[in-house]
Amino acid sequence: MSKAQMQDFYRRMLLIRRFEEACSEWYMRGKIGGFLHLYIGEEACAVGSVSCLGPADYIVSHYREHGHALARGLDPSRLMAELFGRATGTSKGKGGSMHLFDASKGFLGGYAIVGAMLPIACGLGVASREKGEKQVALAFFGDGAVNEGEFHESINLASLWKLPVVFFCENNGFGMGTAIQKTFSGPAIYKLANSYGIPGEQVDGMDVLAVNKATHEAVECARSGGGPSFIEAITYRFRGHSMADPVEYRKKEEETRWRQRDPILHFPKKLKDEGLATADDLQQIEQDVDRVMEEAVRFANESPEPAPEELYTDILAE
């Protein structure tokens, strides 16, 4: 891993963090509507995994997908405009926070129904195989999705047909406000995949390098015809399920413990300690990110609302 790559990991994680902090602020100020599910704390999962993909690969994700979209390199300004419901947004203001798309980058959607992206990932894998291409589909989902029937239907099919799909479970310990211990009977999520014949492992989701290593192997396996893999990243959501969630169901000590492992604090320190970045490098990254965010918010604020006639466009493909 080169110095530049390591610094890029930090840049991307910081961009996600700052983007979401801005989301929180502008949600409180009434510019962002609907549900807003922040990813704060989980940045290492997105950056560590998405960085393993090639430009032609696919991503499908869940409703907490801002981080995946930014890690994939979607334009922060257009993403923010989408959250503001503006015509310049990635979905022209018709998708919102839970439905981010950028087909040009293979980012084929955030899906707001738990588990819904998993069969779609299988289809992307089938298409890749049918076309004789070596595209890989990376599917993000949370621990809540593993109790959905679609999870089992999908990993069974992916295993059966050796589809080039990487199943990436972000286990943050909670399905909305319910702890996983109350909803999941198994010993570990990744073992479910193993029982379907899919190689899988648990990784530290707060460690961008650990995530990167595991995903890299999974992507290479898929690309070389070895079939699907399963990664369970153990991570933590520093904020509530959504902005409406006061997080009364978890203990302060638990949060504090996890915050000590915050990748945004931890990773730059590591870079400095290991001589991979100077204080100046880190400051430069922070300034760059701040500038990008300032522009994103300005762009979103100044962008027009969709024209009324947009109501009736894009219902059907011509």
Binding site: H99, A112, P119, G123, K131, L157
Partner: protein, 324 residues
Amino acid sequence: MAIITYREAISGALREALQSDPKVFLMGEDIGDYGGSYAVTKGFIKEFGPQRIRDMPIAESVIVGTGIGAAMAGMRPIVELMTINFSLLALDQIVNIASKIHYMSGGQVSVPLVIRTVSGGGNQLAATHSQSLEGWFACLPGLRVAVPATPYDARGLMRTALKDKNPTIFVEHSLLYSLKGEVPDEWYTVPFGKAEVKRPGKDVTIVSYLRMTQVALRAAERLAQEHGIQAEVVDLRTLRPLDVETAVESVKKTNKCVVVEETWRTGGFGAEIVGRIQEAAFDSLDGPVMRVAGKDVPMPYSRKLELTAIPNEDDIIRAVKVPA
């Protein structure tokens, strides 16, 4: 002009698509080695191989979802849901995903997917295997819903579905598979959103679709022979897009209208058709638009009870003869 069955018409359209477009492939339960539970894809696996005729696990959500994903990535999948009753297990993928992706992505992503399925009762399969649910899908913006009543329309509509960039629910009826009809040897298509007058008449308009069009045509023959009433039968052919204009035009001529559908009367799609007709042709109507629909009961197994639950010619004749 060949006389072929409805089954052969669909089968032929699928075969020509498989032959002409390498992006086309089929997925579903029992479609390969078994040949399809209604034998539509019989022999396909020998002809095209297991890569293009894919037998799937009995897991409807992943059947449809895999079709959606493959379609998004540029393939032309055709998935089969053995019956429309099983579509309920795939409802999320159809309702929340397939019909919405194009809109939610601001037009970036399209889903050129055909979902073939079989609707209706009449085989003594009781309550869970005899439903007519196509009207539910017809409520959804972003979907196409084709409901062919003849071999000619089945082939022509399937060809159109396979050229369309949007998800299409292609609804077949188990009691139509053996129906024979003329299908031209030369290439033709039947456009979506174009109803057809299947039988001209001047006294009353009967609007219907899928198998009920055949029942309406038989009822119209009897109305002519036994009662001297010339009924015009308008076959909708697709529920979405819905061509009400052809029905309205007919009503303006006949001044009477009966809408016939196989599903339950309560909440049936027929109510939508009635509403549109009265909005557009109220001044032409001599009386209320009548509805003939399935009885509001879970489908019984007993043959006699089942026959009572599904609309028949007598029901239509009675509705037509209600004084205006």
